[in-house]
């Protein structure tokens, strides 16, 4: 199954696009997305510990709601990675 992860804040630097597509071969939870994102950053930016830290500290949202690590995802679903915030 394919999951689209929309990128925001510092996580926009992970890709030239506004999102990353991840592929899974089973039903997954948000924690699986986080683990996949951690692997992605470790492979693509092995020197950048800040990116790794940001993924670990990020929340994830689905349909504009922040969701827990145990939240189940459907195929072709879109989620957003929400790194630590700071507007105003």
């Amino acid at each position: 199954m394919k999951i689209k992860v929309e990128l925001f804040g510092v996580c926009r630097e992970f890709s030239d696009k506004d999102f990353i597509d991840l592929e899974f071969d089973k039903n997954i939870q948000i924690k699986d997305i986080r683990n996949e994102m951690i692997k992605f950053v470790e492979n693509k930016f092995p020197e950048n510990k800040n990116y790794l830290e940001m993924v670990k500290k990020s929340a994830f949202s689905s349909k504009d709601e922040i969701v827990e690590d145990e939240f189940m995802l459907n195929s072709n679903q879109t989620v957003s990675i929400i790194p630590p915030i700071g507007g105003g």
């Binding site: 929309e6 925001f8 804040g9 510092v10 926009r12 630097e13 500290k57 929340a59 949202s61 504009d64 922040i66 969701v67 827990e68 690590d69 957003s80 929400i82 790194p83 630590p84 915030i85 700071g86 507007g87 105003g88």
Partner: protein, 149 residues
């Protein structure tokens, strides 16, 4: 009465005039305008501007929840609020956020305005990338969003 928006500053602007038109009411004896603006320094660095990023739909949802929370907690009389936040590059001195509020009495508008900006800082998915002299930029370290259990 409530209005909120994420303003793409490449194509639009945040103005006090729009806020004033929205909140003015003969039922209210007090109104207050808070502006967040870009300052020229942070952490011993010379700042030249800030790029704001936002999850637009979540930001608008968050602003509405904060407004409703304020009404419930502060027990406001005839509340009105106009909240807009910038998205995109804002130069020095530019407006990043406007919070215009009106109520029946003056004490309430101070509480109301303060409540909104403090909650935005804690709950609203907006991010800042500072631009410094030279080509250097940095995303500012923010606050982790807490997941409701």
């Amino acid at each position: 009465m409530f209005h909120c928006e994420v303003v793409d500053v490449n194509t639009n602007e945040i103005t006090i005039e729009k806020a004033q038109k929205f909140i003015e009411s003969q039922k209210c004896g007090a109104s207050l305008y808070f502006l967040g603006t870009v300052r020229d320094h942070n952490n011993d660095k010379t700042v030249t501007g800030i790029t704001y990023d936002a999850h637009d739909s979540m930001v608008k949802k968050s602003f509405k929840e904060i407004y409703e929370d304020a009404i419930q907690k502060l027990k406001l009389d005839h509340p009105a609020a106009f909240v807009e936040h910038a998205k995109g590059y804002v130069p020095l001195g530019g407006i990043s956020v406007i919070i215009a509020v009106a109520c029946k009495h003056r004490a309430q508008v101070y509480e109301f305005s303060r409540f909104i900006i403090e909650e935005i800082k804690k709950k609203t998915p907006i991010w800042k990338k500072e631009h410094y002299q030279g080509e250097e930029t940095a995303w500012l370290e923010g606050k982790q969003i807490q997941v409701k259990k």
